[in-house]
Amino acid sequence: MQGMKNIKSLIISLLCLYPVMSLGHPTSFQGATSLMNESTSMTRHMMLTYSHRYWLASAAHYTRLELESENNAIQAGLLGVNTLLKRWNNPTSQGNVYLSAAHGREFKKGISDRQITRGDFDIDWEDRRFYVAAGYTRYFRQRESNDPMLYKDIQIKKFRVGAAPYLGEFKELNTWIILEAMQVQNQTVSITPMFRFYYNNVLWEIGSSLRGDWMFNFMVHYL
């Protein structure tokens, strides 16, 4: 048991060496290892994936969510799979539908170990000039109390539209201007304009919400 705890701490520590976040396709080309990190002042999601096929990847997650109620805040580690359910390859565009699931443990300080399951449904469409994406994430949490407000399930909804101000070539710097709307539970929708950059195997996004909350996302592919 102590050994397991040490391994868990080690994995979390390794993940935390990357103080960044990312948002991209949850599966990649066969044999690719990808690290993604998505951070705002309230949330953090890190995901390490290995793509067995372009449509199937194993994933390790670290997630942290700060909410209005301390009891509902989440800090957890999860393992799961990401799948590309459907891809539309068009001559000048691409559309995707992804479904991901993961299961793990919450380990927030002061909270005893409790199970947690994460489900994600994502869709996107892009061509060289425009990009649109929507995502829904839900955390299903283990309840040990009759209090319906305690350890309740958490849902996150996201919607993005973007445009490329110029058309960058492969191995050149590619730039996108993106507007993201995100809602955690029933809180006010947060609107965040951001820049997305691609260069070689690295993608990063920098933005600030209209309320002044920062955002930094990061993704890198290794072979």
Partner: protein, 96 residues
Amino acid sequence: MKYFTTLILSLLLSTSIMASSTTKEHTVYVKGMVCAFCAQGIEKSFMKQPEIEKVTVRLEEHKVTLTYKDGQTMEAARIATLLEASGYTVDETRTN
């Protein structure tokens, strides 16, 4: 007669060079290849093949040019299979 022989030999040689140049490279147009990460996956996939010398991607034209090592080539069906394994498809309407 000498001139005639030289002419025939020259014609044969130029035909041989043309044939060689047509098999040295292969261009395919790819459906769904819209971003640098897409291109990266395709490049990695082809560079693992022993016949391939170089992969050149033109995102704007959705075009991949495969340059083969000396004397080597790849069947069109295999190129399509490799692209499909990477998550993309050959645009048959544009690729000969």
